[in-house]
Amino acid sequence: MIQICFFASLREQLGVTNLSIEARENLTVKMVAEEIVNTHSDWADIFQDKQLLCAVNHQIVSPTTIVKDNDEVAFFPPVTGG
């Protein structure tokens, strides 16, 4: 399984902190987002936000990054700490 977590304003918009999806071969970050939207159609607009960032196993990645079984995928808005 792939663990997916959401943070900050995205977490609040979705009303969900985390979920999981089945791993499969050649699954990219972009495909993970598409799969999430396919099962939660009311989230489509939220995932259109071009500013959303994605990290796999705590490293920022691009939409084409491959996601493997047991990876932790996080989606979140631009950071505002400091």
Partner: protein, 140 residues
């Protein structure tokens, strides 16, 4: 030393950690970020900071390592608070010791700049009109 914590920090204690038994460093630069009472057009009464724990610590450690590779540094200390804060509360401490001041100034500035753009921490402000997430890219 890197810490992400809810509790406050004591600048005097942190300064001493940078200087105690450290005869080689002739410079210490530190920065403290505070909760301001006005931001992006609204009065602020407090804020809540959310973070992504494991990633925030890894990213902070990476930024500190980068700074150490760019400049000759002695000790480096970064503390970032999370949770509920009030106006005037301390948010972040970045302290750097070095043999000479220029290295310490540059490294402290570098760490703060990258902390603000790469470490997964988010501010949610409580304003006179309710709560709102701080938007990135707007000076805060």
């Amino acid at each position: 030393m890197i810490k992400i914590q809810q509790i406050d920090f004591d600048v005097g204690v942190e300064y001493n950690k940078l200087t105690d038994a450290n005869p080689t460093d002739g410079a210490v630069v530190f920065f403290v970020g505070l909760v301001r009472d006005f931001n992006q057009g609204h009065e602020i009464t407090g804020m809540t900071l959310e973070h992504y724990p494991q990633m925030a610590e890894k990213q902070l450690a990476a930024i500190v390592d980068e700074a150490k590779s760019k400049w000759q540094l002695g000790r480096v200390s970064v503390i970032h608070r999370v949770g509920n804060l009030q106006v005037n509360d301390q948010i972040v401490f970045v302290g750097v010791s070095s043999q000479h001041r220029e290295q310490a100034f540059q490294a402290a500035s570098y760490i703060m700049d990258y902390l603000k753009t790469r470490v997964p921490i988010w501010k949610k402000e409580t304003t006179n009109q309710g709560t709102r997430w701080v938007e990135a890219g707007i000076k805060s």
